[in-house]
């Protein structure tokens, strides 16, 4: 048995495998399949101050090796989460990460203030490509990444802040540094890549929103490269994600410099993906004489160096 626990800016996780926001709800449905207390953490569905109905359907499409989604941040609102789901989710013993979004800088501060001290970590979604105003705007330019981080931190006294980076940018390492300068305790990446899939019979995009966020196995090499660049640009810990399907995929991200990983789309392909990744990590560490998974973080040796 390898030691799988990791420490993310003072928060200790049983193992480095976290459910990615939007693919796992608030954990209740997957808990019908397995005890979600066994996974490192759960990043909740992206929440806003007020409930949101989200986009029209279809909200999802498939393309070889990837999927596209445009849910549009449908969520019951942060108060509903606090009243109905929070206590239960904490009782499972998993690390509770509240994923939050807003339309304005003030929204970000207010929702962070509301959740401060109630959850283990807060993950700022500044990169959701589906919401017309807000979302996208903050995550694109380094200046707004820094500004929204500063503002969110104003609402926080206790809970560490993760800033989730969009990959649809000029230089993701620059944006990661902007988040760090703004006071982020951690960064996570990648959110989805903006894409389109077309129904050629109808000559229309499949998704009602026209464009959607691309995720799943096919984006992994791009995500690994970005995690490597970001991990080398900041001192704060990095959470890596994008197309992770198995333990070996997770290990690539750890070696590239991520302290923990998130798993999203793979939960759709195989609802037991996360427990399998966790046991696979343990087996890999054991068979490679690695006593603690934390030893793998950032151990990548670049060719020619």
């Amino acid at each position: 048995m390898a030691n799988l626990s990791v420490n993310l800016c003072g928060v200790s996780l049983k193992n480095p495998v976290i459910a990615a926001s939007g693919t796992f709800g608030f954990g209740r449905e997957f808990n019908e399949l397995y005890d979600i207390g066994t996974i490192g953490g759960v990043s909740t569905k992206g929440m806003t101050l007020q409930p949101r109905l989200g986009n029209p359907v279809p909200r999802i499409a498939e393309s070889r090796g990837v999927i596209l989604n445009a849910v549009g941040l449908q969520n019951p609102g942060v108060e509903h989460f606090i009243a109905e789901d929070l206590a239960w989710l904490k009782s499972t013993g998993t690390c509770v990460i509240a994923n939050v979004a807003g339309q304005t800088l003030e929204d970000y501060q207010a929702i962070c203030a509301r959740l401060d001290g109630l959850v283990d970590m807060i993950e700022l979604n500044i990169s959701c490509p589906n919401v017309k105003s807000g979302g996208m705007a903050f995550g694109i330019k380094p200046e707004t990444v820094e500004a929204v981080t500063v503002q969110a931190k104003k609402g926080l006294k206790k809970t560490p802040l993760i800033v989730k980076l969009s990959p649809n940018v000029e230089n993701i390492a620059v944006n990661a540094r902007a988040a760090e300068n703004g006071g982020a305790d951690c960064v996570s990446l990648v959110n989805t890549f903006t894409g389109m899939a077309i129904d050629i019979e109808k000559r229309r995009p499949i998704i009602a929103n026209n464009t959607g966020g691309v995720s799943g196995a096919g984006i992994k090499p791009i995500a690994v490269r970005m995690v490597y660049e970001v991990a080398n640009a900041v001192k704060i810990p990095v959470i890596g994600m994008g197309g992770i399907t198995c333990a070996e995929d997770a290990i690539e991200f750890l070696m590239a410099g991520a302290t923990a990983v998130q798993v999203g789309t793979a939960n759709f392909t195989d609802p037991y993906a996360m427990p399998k990744i966790i046991s696979g990590l343990n087996a890999w560490c054991d068979s490679h004489g690695v006593a603690s998974v934390a030893e793998l973080v950032g151990t990548l040796q670049m060719n020619g160096k």
Partner: protein, 251 residues
């Protein structure tokens, strides 16, 4: 709900473009009529295909699917002995109340398949009348299942089998002849369900419809598969449905 490692027993074409696949599970799955399974076709297909359970007998479960896109094309080529992951049973399914004795089933296209499971579950205790529509004679299948109902009418859009009409028209024709069910259970294309809902509202007969929507997780976690409720809220087709009271959904 379980993710079964399901062994294919047989997989064959039963009508033009329609296949029937039977799996053997490790145990007897408790399935309500109208529930569905999420079948993994593997490879580059990251999403599972939601397909209604047609029959569940002992350790065997049968689905009927239309070959539509890449995933169902791939499914067609899966041979006996192969093992696929099938997450099931999913969704709420059809419920028939104790006092609802006369049950009308109205189905069109692949929407007839979830209704097969209703016939199988209730044929002995209820008076079932089935109104089933196909595109044409080539698509006709599953008649032997619907023949177990007390009354059974099959029609086609082009009149190449049975009368030339759709299943809602066949149902309306029976109403005009004095038939009156206690409840209507239905599945089919949205325009068909919309027409049926109008009839049910006019006649004041309770009506339940099974909806289709593209899915991500299939278990209620991702909010990908929603439909609009008449009260302004949105519901998950995979978990709150696929069966809804027709009066409570916007079609």
């Amino acid at each position: 709900m379980k993710d079964y490692q399901a062994t294919v027993v047989k997989n064959e074409e039963i009508a033009r473009g329609i296949c029937e696949i039977t799996f053997r599970l490790q145990e007897t799955a408790k399935v309500r009529p109208g529930q569905f399974g999420a079948i993994s076709v593997g490879g580059v297909h990251l999403l599972r295909r939601p397909i209604a359970v047609c029959k569940a007998e002992g350790n065997e479960v049968t689905f009927c699917y239309q070959i539509k896109g890449d995933g169902t094309k791939k499914l067609k080529n899966v041979g006996a002995g192969s093992v696929l992951n099938v997450l099931m049973p999913l969704g709420n399914g059809f419920f028939v109340e104790e006092n609802e004795k006369k049950v009308a089933l109205v189905g069109g296209g692949v929407g007839i398949f979830p209704l097969v499971s209703v016939v199988r579950a209730y044929a002995n205790e209820k008076e079932i009348s089935s109104f089933i529509g196909f595109r044409n004679a080539g698509a006709v299948c599953a008649l032997e299942e619907f023949e177990k109902s007390a009354k059974f009418v099959a029609v086609t859009d082009d009149g190449s089998f049975g009368e030339k009409m759709n299943s809602v028209q066949a149902f309306e024709k029976a109403l005009a002849e004095g038939y009156r069910p206690d409840v209507i259970l239905s599945c089919g294309p949205t325009p068909m369900l919309r027409a049926l809902k109008a009839v049910a509202v006019r006649e004041n007969i309770p009506c339940y419809v099974s909806l289709e929507e593209r899915m991500g997780c299939g278990i209620g976690a991702c909010l990908v598969c929603v439909c609009n409720l008449t009260n302004g809220a949105r519901a998950r087709v995979c978990k709150d449905g696929p069966v809804f009271n027709a009066n409570e959904v916007n079609l």
